[in-house]
Structures are given as C-alpha cells and as structure tokens.
Symmetry: D2
Subunit: 365 residues, 4 copies
C-alpha cells in the first residue's frame, strides 16, 4: 500500500519534532510537507532545527531534507495537496490561539483536513475533541462541521490537553462499565516538556516544584466533560458530570504527567477489584482496529505499592498507555488512584497520530 | 540568664544534626549531652558525624567536642542530669518504633523529660502531640501522664509528622475563626530529606516522582484529628472532623513539603477574602510569648499566582512559617489552597525546639 | 540455530537486571540460569526482583519464571551446565573483591567460562580485560590462562570500568592510526547508576555534584594501560603510555558518563580534521563480524557545539556507541574532546555481552 | 557615619536583584537609585520585579519602593548624583557588549564611577579587572584611565567572569608564595544561575549535563592572565603564564561553580602540605582592611575526601569564600585540586561590592 502523504504545521517546534520522529517509520503515513514560521521557511528541515532538536533520538529518513514552507501560506500546502504530497496536515502550531484557530480554518476551507494538537478549536461546538479509546463516535460530527462551513473535503479534529490523559480514559472505562461519576479532585504532577521549549526555566524548577501552570486547571476540569459528552442532533453536548477540581503542579521531570485522583461515584459503587478488572479488560476502537499507534492495552494496572512513576512507566506501550496504580479506597470519596501518561506522545503527537489513524479507518482520507 | 543544659538523643542522625545546628546559638538552651547508637559512643561529636554531616552550614561551637554517649544507656543521661548537664532531652531517635517508645519511657521514668520528634508515642493517649500555635492547651495533660505512670519530673511530649505541618495550622486557624471543617483531599509533594539519610536513592527520584511513601498517608489523615482534639477529663479526645484523604508523593526536592488542599466547610462558609484575612491575622501562644524559635507570623499568605514554592519559600520566617498561596474557590468543595513548610525545621527539629520553649514558658523546666 | 544457554551470576542486582533485559531477545544467547545471593535463592526471578526492578522497561519473557539459585553454590551451575542449561556465565557479582575473585575462579575451575563485569580479576595477569573494538587480540591469552590453572574448558575474561569507556576507544583509534599518545588529563561527569542501587543518596546529589568517587580515578588512570598493552609471550604487558590524570565527579544524571579530555600526542600530531576522520572511519572486530550487540559505528563524531549530552546521546547505537564532540585544539596539550557512553550498557552489561559474542565468534563456546 | 548612596544599573535582572539583596543591610552603602530597561522605567522596584524575583530571600527595606529609572538615560543618574543620591553605580547591565561598554563610559564621563559586573570593559587596557584579594594594586591605574579619557571623577572598574573565581585566587596564593605556575587544565561544572534568567531551559539540563557554554572557555583561559598581570608604566601587562586549557560544563545545580584543576609548577614545586598551608594562611587586602563583604578567610581548605560540593559549600563565608579540596598530587602535572565558589555572590554581585569597598578604603568615594 502506498503511504498517505501528510504535512506537519509547526514542524520545527517541540511537538512538531515529536510528530516527525514518530512518523519516521509509520506504516500508513509519510511526512512529505513541513511548514513552520516564516523564519524557518526556505531552509531544509535539518537546517531549521539545527541546535533546536530536543528529542533523544534523531530518526533517520528523508524528512531531514524536506524544504520547510511558511505555515501561514496555505497556498503552498494546497499546491502540495494537488501534487499529491499532502493529503492532510497535523497541526502543532504554537502561535496565539486566535491566529492558530483562523489558520486551521483556512487549511480546512482550502480542502485540507486538519488533525490538530492545538487548543484553539477545542471548544468549537462542531469540532470533535478526540481520545481514540473514549469518544471516537464524535467523529460523526465531521459531516455536520463541513456542512456548517460549506467545506467539502476539509475539516478539523482536535485532541485534548496533555494533563487530562492520565485520568480521562480510566474515568471513561468506569462510566462505560455502568458506574456514574459524581465528583473528583485531581492533583497533577506535570513534566517540563509540557511547557514546550525553552519553556520552564531551569532556575524555576531545580530543587523545586511550582504549584501553578497557567490555564491548565481550567482545561483539566472542563475538557473531560466535552469528551465524555454525547453527540445529540447536530452538536456535542457536554456531560454534566463528573465535577472536577484540579490542582496542577510543574515538577522537575522531563516527560510524563502523573495525576492523583480521589473519585466519588453515584449510588452504584464498584469494589476495588471490580475497578481493576474494568481497567485491565478495557479496550477501545483503536485496539479493535489494531491501529498502528494504538497500544495493545489502553490501560495497565500496576500492583506495586509505588507505581506508576514517570521515569519507569512513561514509555510503556509505545508511550501510549495510561499506567494506573495505587488503586485503593478513598477516605473522603470512594476511590483513589494514580494515573500516568507520556505527555508528548500520548498527550500530544502520538495522540494526534492515533486520531488520524482512526479517521483513516473510518474512510476519511 | 544561665542557659538550660539539654541533651539530644539520636544526635548524629539527620534530625539530630538539625537539632544541634539550630541550638548552636539558642538563647535559652545549650546542648551539653549528645547520645546516639553504640557505634558512635565514645567518639567526639565531630568524629561521630565525620562524612555524615548533611547540612549546608556547619555551625561553630563547643558541640563538636562533646563526647557522644550510648543512647540506650539511660544511666549516663541521668548522671549528666544530676551533674546539671542535661535538664531534658530532645529525642531524634531513629530506631524502630517499639524500641524508641520504650527508651523514651525509660528516660521519662528516670526523671528526664523527653521532647520527641519520633512517632512512637504519637498515639499514646496521655502524650500530647503538639504544634505550638494549635494545641498548646494539650500540655495540661502532662500531670495526668505523670500520674498515670508514677513519674515525678519526667514526661513525654511529641510533635506530629512533617507532612501535616503544611496544612494543619491553616486548618486550625479557620476552625478557631468559627468555621467547621467537614472534609478535605490533600495531595503532598514531599522533599527527600523527609526520608532521612541515606533515604531515597537518587536512581528512584532523578527525573521522577514517586506516588507512595510508606505510612505517610495514614499519618497525614489521622494525626490532625488528635491535634485538633480536645482535652476532656483525663484524656485527649480526637476531633471527629475533618475527614481527610491524603495522596503522598516524593519529589526531587531537597527540603520543603508542599500540600495541595481541597476543603469542604460545614454550613458556614467564609469568603476567599475572609480566609486570607483569618490566616494573615492568625497568632498563637508562640507569637504571644515571643518564643525564640517562633516565627513572627505563623502563616504567610502569598498573592503571587505561582507561590509558595519549595526552594523560594521554605526558609521564610526562620523556616518555621507555613506559606500559603493559590487561595481560591474549589469547584468540588469550597476552598482550594497550597501550603508549604520546611520539613526538617518546622516539620522536625525546629518544631521540637518550639515545643520545648513552650514547655519552659509554662514552667516545666 | 539453537540458542546458547547462559547463566547470570548476581542476576538480581542492577547490572544483573541489565543483563537479563538486554539478553531477552538476543539472537545467540538465552538466559536459562540465574543466580544471586542466598537471600534470593529459591524464589522465582520475578519474586526476587519484586520492588527492586530499576529499569524503565520490563522485558517480557521466560526469565521471570526462572528459579534463582545461590551464586555461591557452583555445583548448581555445574549441574545446569551438564544438563545443557548453562554453557557459560556472565558475572555481575556485587560481593567484595576477594570473594568475587575466588568465586569466579571456582566457576572457571569447574569448567564454566566466566564473562565478568566485576573488577576482581581486572589486574590478574593472565585475564584479558576486553573492549571488543580495542584489544580483542588479548583473547589469545585464554589458553595460557587455562594452562596456568590447569583448567580445561573454563576461563575468565573481564571488561573494564565504566568510566574509561568514554575515552579509551577514541584514544585507541588514534594510536591505531599511528599517533603516539603521551599524556592526558580527563575529567569525568558520571551518572548515579554507576554506583549501583541504592547507591548515591538523593540528598547527596540533588542540586549538587560530588567531586569524588572512591577508587574511580585509579581505575580511570590505570585500566587503559592494560587494555592498550600488548600480548607478549605468556603475558599482557601494560602500555607505558599515555600517562593519565583523572578527576572523577558524580553528577545528577541517571545514565551516561561524560569525559572531558585534554590530550598530548607524541611528535606526530594529527590535525583536528584528521582526528575526526580517524574516529568516523574507525571499525573494530565487532563491526567486521557484525556481532549482534555491536553498534554499526563504535564512535560517532557530533559536530554540534554542545554535544554529546548524557540525555540526548547515551542511547545512540543501541547505547553501545561512544559519542564524541567538541573536537578542538588544546591550549595546553594538543587536542581536546568530550566523550560520552552509556555506563550500564556499553559500560557494563552490553559490554559484557559484546565480549561473549566475540568469544563465541572465535569458537570459545 | 552616613551611608554612601549608590545606584544599580540593570537592577531588575538576576545580578541586579542579587546586588539589591546583598546591599539591603550594608553598613557603608545604601541603594538610592535603581535603573533598568525602558520597560521597567517609571515603575516601583516592587512592580518591576513582580513575578521575576528569583532569590529565595526577599529582603525587606525601602528599595521596594524605589522608582526605577531608564538606565539608558544618564542624565537621570547625574541628576540623582547632584542631589546626593547616587555617588557611584554598580553596573549589572545585561545588554549587548557594545551598548554596555558605551553606556558605562557615558556614566563615567558624566562623573559617576562605575563598578561593573559586565564583561564589556574587561579587556579595555586601562580598566582594572579586580579580585580584591589578588590584584588590588591594579586600582592604581584609575588615575591613568581618567587622564586617558579626560574624566575628572568618573572611572570604570570591572570584575572577572564567575567561572574563574574558583581557581584564580588559589593560583595567586601559590604565585605569591614564590611558586611559578606553568600550565593548567581546568574543567568547570557550572550552575545554571550563571546563565541568568530565564537562561538554561529545564529540558536541556534535567537528567543531563551540557559540555559547552558559549564564550566561557576563552574567558576562563584569558582573564586570569590580566588579573595576574602587572602594572607597568601606564598599562596593565598580562602575565605570560600560566597557560590554561578550560573545559566548561553546565550542570543541574542552582548556584555554585566547581573547578577540577591539574596544575604544573615551574622548577620549584611545593609539597601538598605546603600548598595547603599557603592556602590556609592566605590573606589579602580585603581581610587586612576588614571590609564588610570580605570573608574572614578567602580560601578554606577542606580535608574530607568528597568536598567541596556546590550545595554544601557555596554559602561558606557569606558565599564569598573559595572552598578548596581534594588537594593531591597529579599524575600528569604536579598538583590536583577542586575549587568551588558561589557564582552569583563571589562571582557576581558580592565580588562587585567587595571591589567598591576596596575603592572606598582607598579614598575613591
């Protein structure tokens, strides 16, 4: 099978690098188009990231010789699209929200689907915010989105913030098993890579933790409600529950977001053993479809007293798994647990690629 | 005024070193007796801590030349006591709980009061577990304790675990202001010095956090209830509320424990501004009595969005202050805040010294 | 081809775990025998490492169900050897030097070859200390060693200390190209995993570096001389040069040892470009023989101003490469460079496996 | 004695904050004038540093209410100078070298002496680069500098780079004792605060070290030669020796630069004991004059095997001491040692203040 040619917007940034790295050997997709800021335009990708390549691994492959285009110039992408070099784009744009939103719409309007990592359209009513294992049914809003805008082939799908990945899939698995979720208090310990590059200054985080990340608590409290919402008529209707209180901390960890959760169920309350069984046996469409980026199991339950840990568990299942541990009763609510996921893979580029795989499997590309 | 000669049990350990360091220039107390394990007995203090001195500062003073005694040999301390060299002892013993408890009782029985940092007697019914600003009235149980055991001059007082110091005083200030506390979820980010030395292995904590500290969550949930309890008849009766759920994490920070708290009040609920005002104006007996180790203010409220932070706030107020910040409404309960205190000063040796100062001001030495 | 069954002595320790992990999918070798301290004997490997598994990855495979034997009991290994389950052993023993040395000899005497990671026999005259790319010719001393001891099939080979791996291969490549080495000053920045587990206490290394590692400077100065020595008659004769002065530092890095080197050549001095060319084109027997554990290139020369770095370069080439950078003139000697290698892979288990592969390719198993 | 009113240029930056903090309780100087970039001009100092105060301690004092001026506007400073509010200025300017150099000259030309921390004038022939204990005699070039420029009261003195502070004073002490220094190889392990704020990105330094700091090796090799140079006629003549080769590394340490040194003497070579004695007994003019910022001893020799260490020794002697340890023979040259100093105190603001104290004691203010 010939690979589908794809583009990456914001290709030189932290998440963009992660996209190119993860796509280097992808069985379905091949990066044939890279766009970034005007500053990088005209350079080879190698030149554009010189001195700014942040990943440990330096994947080999033709991507290093790609000519970087100006991401603001949609016509270049359209040109590539017509030449058969850019069927859709991954957006890892790092501009301000308004410009990102407008630019993503411009790509969609030109006929190029956008699979976005950016936050600009997360709360756009007809844009699905997808976690492959949780709400793939929200994909069905795409035709409505296209109709709303008068777009024929283009559309926009987004993925949620990295901070919610460590608990949203476990929450959904419990819901799916028939247990209502009323409220939860979640405290996150988030890696510095979540702040991009240069991001957190070393002087702010060595021998320190910082109990604040701008905008992160709001995202952590609200985004799960859209994801757990239902497609009703022409709109995604947010779930009314669970109510979430988030405390977000930055910690001196390179990759891997942890979440300590205290959860209150509705009147039906599963036992600890039932909870573990639900999580261990949970599967979603990415697993059923054997998508290339999908982990074999979306959730791994650790029985050790002191796991999951960022350094030891972030890379589990191609860094796409949510590792859960310390599953125990809560003295205030019903259930306590710790969730952990890799913020730049599952929580960013890997999640975006999984979304694209899901879309392809539904016939969108 | 001649200084009161005191002893330190467990003088060569991490907390013991902190005691000797903090007492080096104390206006009331002077370390004249140091005891540790048989391994150290007979050496000078300088020799005994050679290669094991963990503090940044190396206080000058005569303590370096003290002859270290065997802490198991109460008769040596009694001898010193009779010679006027050891009025009471600070216990920073690091043996197992049973041996520590028995040894502390032996000192008390011999007539030497014990101001302890150890956990052995925290749940002994007639032993007060003191935070100077919170429950100094529990000191009144000492005569009952002495009567229970038939001790004349000896007695035991303890201080609570370091993990609860970052939120218990703020909670008490709200209670004292007339607001009932129903429930709270607290997630701690705790420094490695809390595990003693060698304590946490560097391989377990570099680029990592660990979501488990043995026994710490139970202490964090239960100890506040004794401290907030009331002296009724011959016993300290635990408070029934608030119910506490704790998640305790170890983080790569040298000193300073943080606590992220979501709190539910009873029917009366203060506004955010009232909460801040209560904390800012809170004072306890240590402040009223101008005790040497007491910070000018027990609680400092930070208004910056990203404070308190371990590295920047742990040393506030002689490292005896609880710094509080991010005071804001909770979407699940009523109030959210972050508390921070220095775990080896306020949370260990400094808290013990403050307890001793309080006892002296009440005429106990 | 049926895999060769091998044993691992000290299988539960840090390096032992690395051996079992790296051998999980090895094309030639299969771990069929695991031995450790009497404390672990009788348990399954899974039970024996419970709570002590330090690696990020947890390789699947039958090794988890292996019954751990007492490493002190050579007869058990001999039994396994006779049953065809233990052709040779990797030694990752962590006992004291004398006991390790004696035990390794006992295995060899019983007829079981020992490929050791331990330091006990590094200075035994008839034991080769091997870096596959540098002194594989020293393997020829094995028959002499066997004759000296009257051993028929057993023998001992060792690998050098992890600290020297970051500069010894680059030095050898220059020697091989015909440039005499007179003197060098090398300063190492060494990862905490080099100290084993629990090893370095976190309180000693957070926000800190330590300018001393017991015994490490002597090894760093002397071991290269044996490795660069020549097989003359019945003995390995140490090289007389280069003279080495080492400064060894522990730094807060999990894995990866760096070395800053200032080097003085003899009368012939290569240009910087020649040096880079020598290193880039250097190959050794492991490459020529396409050994499974061998990196494609033993040395990678980085041209970026700020590489190699531990986190970004330690995993290059299956973590078996020496990454070299900052190749530039020296204002005091002739050449300066920075070398980096992965201390628990190339510097420990990976290096040991490469040695075994080399031995097998020479017909020793 | 009325305090001398001083100004700080670049008052809101990292070093500027350190100046204001160290000067808060200074017995001779009082900050009455603060200037920074136009962006800060017009704000109170409190407003200007809001969210950018990097030090652990927040000194109290009137400085928080100072109105910040535009550092580019010399006339404002001159005005303050005439009103008796700004006798001289400390320059902690962080602009590019050319603009900093020109601006410092403009202040000097207007009659305001400049005690600078910046690198702009370090190699200006008639500007002394001072370490109080080493080359205070270079102060005598000031009249020549004033004559060269036609300045009456203004002048410029600078201090050297932070990286050289950990070894230059020990080197000088040996020279002064009559031992010629031929060559040295020095490898530094430098703290992130040396890069200013935000400076080093956390992603670049967590679980990592970086073997390169732009421009630092050149400064580390050359600046000592001017400092060890002699005042000959109208010029400072650089010392011809020692020849220095520097390897500069950034490490995950907040404050404190370490230096590992291998040193070659001329024909006369002191014993290790002589070296220690020379360092222990070394004193300079700051000690003789009992300057307020001077440490009691400029050099402390540690005998422990594993000291000095950044976290434990950086604050020794008001963070103005050079701690030296591991004094031992070198296998390549003659002497090895490790030096450590606090880079933002001795290596920046504290060193600048000591220079000003020295100038005042010579009658310059």
């Amino acid at each position: 099978m010939a690979k589908i040619p794809v583009g990456v917007l914001g290709a030189t940034g932290m998440v963009g690098q992660q996209y190119l790295s993860l796509l280097a050997d992808h069985p379905w997709f091949e990066v044939r188009y890279a766009a970034a800021s005007p500053r990088s335009a005209g350079k080879t990708y190698r030149e554009a990231v010189a001195g700014r390549w942040h990943l440990a691994s330096s994947p080999s492959g033709g991507m290093w010789d790609l000519r970087v285009e100006d991401a603001n110039d949609v016509s270049r992408a359209l040109d590539a699209n017509r030449r058969g070099c850019c069927t859709f784009v991954f957006s890892a744009l790092e501009m301000d929200k308004d410009r990102t939103g407008a630019l993503e719409e411009a790509y969609a309007a030109s006929g190029i689907p956008v699979v976005s990592n950016a936050s600009a359209h997360r709360w756009t009513a007809d844009v699905p915010m997808l976690i492959g294992e949780v709400n793939s049914r929200h994909i069905d809003i795409i035709p409505i989105q296209q109709k709303n805008h008068g777009w024929d082939r283009g559309f926009i799908v987004v993925k949620p913030n990295c901070s919610i990945q460590s608990y949203t899939t476990p929450l959904y698995a419990l819901l799916e098993a028939g247990y209502d979720l009323k409220r939860l208090v979640v405290t996150t310990l988030q890696a510095v890579s979540g702040a991009g590059y240069p991001g957190t200054a070393s002087l702010d985080i060595l021998d320190n933790t910082v109990p604040y990340i701008g905008g992160e608590e709001e995202k952590s409290e609200n985004e799960p409600l859209k994801i757990l919402g239902s497609l009703s008529g022409n709109a995604i209707v947010n779930a009314a529950e669970p109510r979430i209180a988030a405390h977000c901390n930055r910690v001196p960890v390179s990759d891997g977001h942890s979440a300590c959760v205290s959860l209150e169920f509705g009147s039906r309350k599963p036992s600890i053993e039932e909870v573990k069984k639900i999580w261990t046996s949970f599967r979603g469409p990415p697993q059923d479809l054997c998508l290339p980026m999908a982990p074999e199991l979306p959730i791994i339950v650790r029985e050790e007293a002191d796991r999951p840990q960022a350094r030891k568990d972030r890379d589990a299942g191609k860094a796409m798994v949510v590792s859960v541990g310390r599953v125990r009763p809560c003295t205030v609510f019903d259930l306590r647990f710790v969730g952990l996921s890799h913020n730049t893979v599952r929580g960013a580029a890997g999640g975006g690629i999984l979304n694209a795989e899901l879309l392809k499997s539904r016939g969108y590309f």
